[in-house]
Assembly symmetry: D3
């Protein structure tokens, strides 16, 4: 149920092929998920989006790969992105997420949503001690 | 800028005092942040909200306390809850979040938002391999 | 903290005055809240927004006035609209909302947010019995 | 299109069976909707979510059952939860929601969304009279 | 996957037929998209929604028709409305949106989402020069 | 009301100074808005965010600069980002947005929000003709 249909043989475009090859190499897998096929109609969008994802998610940083996927999943849930919930649940599992961790993420995400709505519902003022402009 | 003004001396209510005492004991701190003062007008809301927060966030579970706070913060950002962004940034720092980790959370959260909007913008279909109803 | 500053003496504009007079008459009050001052720079926006609000909220319909305000408040919380949370909390109180009802609205709104995030988090499939295209 | 596939015979788990039996008894119906099957993989998530829903929605409180379902539905719409919109539309109908009430809910929810975006779009300042920190 | 099934022969209702005829005439096309069939159960919702859409989107105003559709699409993406993303992508294409423009809209929408989350994540204070209440 | 306080003399950091100098040069103005001061604590976040904004918003592309700012503003409103609504309203005005255009943007954004909530509220099925997977 998409608004765009990727072209056949899109890898005949050398800019697309270069990105797809880098995705395969970086992930050490032949599989390219739909995200990349569907944005490939705009090479610039494809190249810059992959560069962002690779830099933030695939390269070693201060947070471990599973924690990063869990954060990505949490935001995707809150933003109601069905595709991203699917792809990042799969990615988190591939990086070792257990059922117990999955259940706990859901508990934290849904509790946060609950208190987010309470705090917004009463427009609770920020404590001075939390406000760096006042401290 | 709130829609409700907590009563003075609200701890004279024994149900409120019991919750506040448990918050102080659990957190090992005299400080009670505004969240609890502002919802104390409804004792049931106060008691059940604290019970949830204590069970999910304060008790030992499969995820470590800092990871839990980071997930809570990520959701609060996505849900545009100013109060919660403040209180959970403070909580994450209290549990050891460094500037480098804070910066990385922002990079992941904002990247997720970016691809959330791209995937929703094209209504990209979920790959069969991600869909457990098909596998 | 607005992005627009209403003009002084904006009621010298007869189209604005006509709307403001109708607000006063409909609400039986001299008070005009900021919403109407801030959108008055575009007479068409002012007239059509007031016409909508009057038709849906001020005229007698199948739901009673307090239930309507509570629904408006619930949506305003979920959409993170600080101004609207304030104005519709005040409107609900003016129509008789008690503290007990206010607390209960917050419990329902925050519980809904919680299960909304769980259902989106697992992408739970809709039961056939709920789907009118299948029944 | 889910990210998790419930196990067969999940009621062989006594903690799951206890919750499912209580759902059946509370609702006076044999039908268990997907929500509960899909979260049953984490017994704690199942038990605490059902306890919340039962306490807030199924037990007698100051608001009547239909008003509570309408508020739940309104939030689920604003949070873009397809599953929840379906299940709570069905629940509201089961509690007597007429077509005329359904249409009116949609008018209120969509009008609220409209003015939420106008108020956020201009960042309209909250009237002093609405702000309990000032009054 | 809808929560409501439109009646057969809904145009036998003269109020519905009048709106449908005006949609066909305004758009110079026999095609009526699902939106209008699904809301036709409430004639008032149908009439007022079409009146709004016609006035804002179909009549000549200061912005050109394609720019208006692009703005509509951008909001629909941010609000996670699958139906609206589809219908307004189609409408934008019908008004001349090229692939290059479509790609650029996605770049702007997703960049905005990215910086929206960064600014909300740090609760960056509004510069005095942007605040009309201070200038 | 921020969660982070920028260091004094942050431009003594050469990576920060390089970005700030490029912002000044690109915008042909000495003014640096808070966004950049507040994210400068993480040089990588600063550099990559500015690179994105410059590439998408400041360089010549298929859409004109004002249309791009209007799209950015529309998304920022829908995502409830107060800071971004302020900064991009100011940017749009600097690029020539008139009051009439501002009013019209608000009409389109708020109408889109209205129909987004109606379509999500009824879970209206996408017309086959809009679905590129079916055509």
């Amino acid at each position: 149920m998409s608004t765009y249909k990727p072209e056949e043989n899109i890898e005949q475009n050398p800019r697309v092929k270069a990105v797809f090859d880098d995705i395969r190499k970086t992930r050490n897998s032949e599989f390219i998920n739909n995200m990349w096929y569907y944005i490939a109609f705009d090479e610039d969008l494809l190249e810059t989006t992959w560069a962002d994802v690779k830099r933030v998610m695939a390269e070693p940083t201060v947070l471990d790969p599973l924690t990063k996927e869990m954060l990505y999943l949490a935001v995707s849930i809150a933003n109601s992105c069905a595709y991203c919930v699917h792809s990042h649940t799969a990615a988190a599992r591939a990086k070792g997420m257990t059922d117990a961790q999955h259940g706990e993420i859901l508990k934290i995400v849904s509790l946060a949503a609950k208190t987010n709505h309470i705090a917004n519902g009463l427009q609770i003022p920020v404590d001075d001690v939390f406000d760096k402009d006042k401290s």
